[in-house]
Amino acid sequence: MRFILLILLTIGIVIFLNPFLPYWVIMILIGISSSLFGLKGFVSFLGGGLGMGLAWLAQALYISAQTGSSLPNKIGELMGLGSGMTVAAVTAIIGLLLGGFSALSGSLLRNLSRKTPDNVYRG
């Protein structure tokens, strides 16, 4: 359940805040959210990763469908990736990695504070 919630929260952060904030602020926000959820490391990775990856994929596909632009195909050709679909997939994978590692870091940070209170500022 918390896993699903983390995915949804991450998607929300990307959809509503990413238009105004660069990707690295989004990564910090995902890390913070993940640290609040207290999920295990790998589960957090998946939650944050799927959240950001899916959100980026959805945004990319939505723009493509909405505009019908040939630009994704052109960029695909320019980057040697083939079609625009591949570019969308690469976009999703980058989102997955950025979101996933951010969430993993957040979750491991929380682990530190929970089990070894001595070393944390707020005990």
């Binding site: 990413n18 990707y23 690295w24 980026w56 945004q59 052109k74 980058i94 950025l98």
Partner: protein, 804 residues
């Protein structure tokens, strides 16, 4: 352990975040490029999908209405000129920001900043030619002489900058994202630079090559192969023109000693062959409606985003429409409610070279007559992406910059030549266009042209009141015969330009008897013109075809003028092919394959239409023959020019046994027919290879016209293999990489009836549906309606934006 886990995860996260924010070799930073909220995905939107009803533009005295027609052509309605040009800057930047900045970066030798050390030599060359230096002088000229133009240019710059400041990260043009840099503020200097860039694009010189040829061939042979007027001269200003002025005397020194070295330096880059243009106007006496019709099609390298951007610019006093150059004020080729005008290149050896004799290694002084004169040192700082800046010292003499010296492209230590070029003089071309946009009469047109210096153009004109005119305008040096054809001695003051031809003596004509005026980059005048006229690049074919058609046609309609711009008649082939077939003789008649091609050629009507096969056959056969004839010149080992097609055909036809055709070190005495036959053999091999590899050899398929993005490596942003006819030396001058960059036909009746098209689209964004949407129509010879619009007009509106 937990710490380690966290630290490792955090390290990976941070490393990842940094990795995707930086370029990896040629790959741009991935995250900013791919992030759907800021990256290239945001450039997928076309302009109508992001249309805004209102936008803020600081500094306007009253709101400006911008009405876009269905082709995304903006029509600006402003209350005064300052508002108009402010809005022009803003709207142009909105659609063409990357291009306008990139072009001025190229003109100022700053490409290395964007792409790294690969462009360093190009940048050094650009700076050593002194384009930016010329623009600086232009700026000083404006400050001292024309505060009004300066004020308008500043408004334009402020408009561009307002747009740059409003840009959100997502809206930044995609080229910036890929090349990973950001726009910088626009300045008046950049607008001036753009006009210098046009000079650079259009002006060449062959002084180096002619100097070499003169040394190798001798003056007599040179004159024979490169006559200063062709046999069938069909000049811009009709040959019957009587020159009604007293020419300024030019004195030729009695003994001229040219520097007599063989020069192996690399020549300056020349304008691409095939850059030229057509323009003409027919008077009401020759048209069906009784109204004058004006046509213009400038031929340039075909690029995307297109060099041209079309607009209507309206104030309560005037309403002008046509092609603008993104970065420059006003319309460059267009019409208003009263007049229409157009431009073609009118080059006249505007660049000359002087050999500089320095006093010593320090290069602080150089000889001029009996004295030594002091040089100036201009330090060019060339920033390079990913490297330290390169400092280049360029020595300036009173002639101009020393382009080649011991630090740049020198194969010999003593190569020191200064470049003298009208582009290095303070001038005010911008004023010409601002005035022309508002001109109402022939007198206004002439007044506007008076401040025009370079690049020299044939300005065609027609007015609603029935006048047609042509004026060749530029600042032309007064030269004695052959002055500047060869490299000159800068130490000898007698080689100096002796002044300039006054504007009133520039060739011009008003309402000539033949009922039309026309130009196609040919010789400007016939030999009766009292000043020395010379250039290597004059056209010999388009002009004759054009004038022959205009002479024959009567009851002319707009559609006929459109058809003439799209005319594929291959006059060079018409003149060369019969000569070649006769010189070929019967040697190949027994070969069935050869016969098939020859039959196709013999049945040809000489139109280079896209579906025709014979143009390909002729083109290859001619190229092979021509190369063979002049092949021995490549053995000179120094840069030379070869005689042009026209002169070559004439030699082949009239003196096929001339010794010029003889190859050395062969047992026989070759004539033209030997080259034609050998060329035919090579042609047979080439065409069969082509057929095996590519199949169809119809003209469009062979020619493969391509419109290339300004960054040639961005091939997906280019449009390749366009199905269209024409070629070099043909009125429809569309070759592989150059052609009609803008076509306009205007009928000046009570209601102006105007048409235009260019191979591109209004948007500079490769993701927009307006990026290349005109290309198919252009390739078919179709046009868009370019009639003037009123603010209230409802039909065909895409959207409307109010700037306030």
């Amino acid at each position: 352990m937990k710490y380690i886990g966290f630290i490792v995860a955090l390290a990976i996260t941070v490393a990842l975040a940094i990795a995707v924010s930086r370029p990896l070799g040629p790959v741009p930073p991935l995250a900013p490029l791919l992030d759907p909220n800021h990256g290239f995905w945001q450039n997928s939107f076309s302009e109508d999908e992001t249309a805004e009803q209102e936008l803020h533009l600081t500094g306007l005295s009253a709101p400006v209405t911008v009405v876009y027609d269905e082709n995304l052509i903006p029509h600006l309605f402003a209350e005064n000129e300052e508002d108009l040009y402010r809005a022009q800057g803003y709207v142009t930047a909105k659609h063409r920001l990357w291009q306008m900045e990139f072009q001025t970066m190229a003109a100022s030798g700053r490409i290395s900043e964007i792409v790294g050390p690969i462009a360093l030599d190009l940048d050094r060359m650009t700076r050593r030619k002194g384009l930016a230096y010329g623009a600086e002088l232009g700026m000083t000229f404006l400050k001292e002489n024309d505060p009004e133009t300066l004020r308008l240019a500043e408004a334009y710059a402020a408009g561009v900058n307002e747009y740059i400041n409003q840009l959100t990260p997502g809206q930044i043009p995609v080229e910036y994202k890929i090349l990973n840099y950001r726009p910088e503020p626009w300045t008046v200097h950049k607008s001036l630079l753009l006009l210098k860039y046009m000079s650079d694009m259009l002006v060449g010189d062959r002084d180096l090559e002619y100097s070499n040829l003169r040394k190798i061939l001798g003056q007599e042979m040179l004159d024979k192969l490169f006559p200063e007027f062709p046999l069938e001269n069909d000049p811009v200003i009709e040959a019957s023109k009587i020159w009604d002025f007293e020419p300024i005397p030019v004195t030729r020194p009695d003994s001229v000693l040219y520097p007599n070295d063989l020069l192996v330096i690399e020549p300056l880059p020349q304008p691409e062959e095939g850059t030229g243009s057509n323009n003409w106007a027919v008077s009401g006496s020759k048209t069906k409606s009784g109204n004058p019709i004006l046509a213009n099609d400038p031929h340039l390298s075909l690029n995307l985003p297109s060099l041209w951007y079309t607009m209507q610019l309206t104030t309560p006093d005037h309403s002008v429409k046509g092609a603008t150059l993104p970065g420059a004020l006003g319309v460059i080729s267009g019409f208003n409610q009263n007049i229409a005008w157009g431009v073609t290149n009118a080059t006249k050896d505007a660049r000359d070279w002087y050999k500089i004799t320095f006093q010593d290694e320090s290069r602080k002084m150089y000889r001029f007559g009996e004295d030594w004169r002091a040089t100036d040192f201009r330090i060019e700082e060339i920033k390079i992406k990913g490297q330290e800046a390169f400092l280049d010292t360029v020595v300036y003499t009173h002639y101009g910059p020393v382009v080649y010296d011991r630090t740049f492209k020198s194969e010999r230590q003593d190569v020191n030549f200064a470049l003298k070029w009208t582009v290095h003089e303070g001038s005010n071309e911008q004023k010409t266009f601002i005035l022309m946009n508002k001109a109402r009469s022939y007198e206004d047109y002439n007044l506007a042209l008076d401040s025009y210096v370079a690049p020299a153009q044939n300005f065609v004109f027609a007015s609603k009141s029935g006048d047609i005119a042509m004026r060749i305008q530029g600042k032309f040096p007064l030269k004695w015969k052959e002055q500047g054809k060869f490299f000159m001695d800068g130490a000898d003051p007698r080689f100096e330009w002796q002044g300039y031809i006054p504007n009133a003596h520039n060739p011009s004509t008003l309402n000539p008897e033949r009922g039309f005026v026309s130009s196609a980059n040919q010789h400007p005048v016939d030999p009766s013109y009292p000043y020395y006229v010379f250039d290597n690049s004059y056209e010999h074919y388009r002009n004759r075809r054009l004038n022959q058609q205009l002479t024959e046609l009567t009851e002319i309609t707009v559609d006929q003028m459109k058809a003439l711009q799209f005319d594929d008649y291959y006059l060079h082939a018409k003149e060369a092919l019969p000569v070649m077939i006769s010189l070929l003789g019967v040697d190949f008649d027994a070969d069935p394959i050869a016969k098939k091609y020859l039959d196709e050629l013999k049945a040809w009507d000489f139109y280079a239409d896209p579906n025709q096969k014979a143009p390909t056959l002729f083109y290859i056969w001619w190229e092979k023959t021509y190369s063979r004839i002049w092949e021995k010149w490549t053995k000179f080992g120094v840069p030379v020019v070869r005689p042009n097609n026209y002169q070559t055909v004439e030699l082949m036809a009239k003196s096929p046994l001339d010794s010029i055709f003889n190859m050395e070190n062969t047992p026989i005495q070759e004539g033209a027919s030997d080259h034609v036959k050998a060329g035919f053999k090579e042609f047979l091999v080439a065409i069969q290879e082509w057929e095996e590899k590519e199949g169809d050899y119809s003209w469009a398929n062979y020619k493969q016209t391509t419109i290339q993005h300004l960054v040639p490596q961005f091939t997906p942003f280019s449009v390749k293999n366009i199905y269209t006819g024409g070629g070099r030396g043909i009125l429809n001058a569309t070759s592989e990489r150059s052609g009609a960059s803008w076509r306009m036909v205007v009928e000046l009746g009570d209601e102006i009836n105007a048409f235009g098209i260019y191979p591109g689209g209004q948007s500079g964004n490769p993701g927009s549906k307006f990026y290349s949407n005109f290309i198919d129509k252009w390739a078919n010879g179709e046009y868009l309606n370019f009639n003037l619009r009123t603010k209230e007009q409802q039909e065909g509106v895409l959207f409307q934006t109010i700037l306030n």
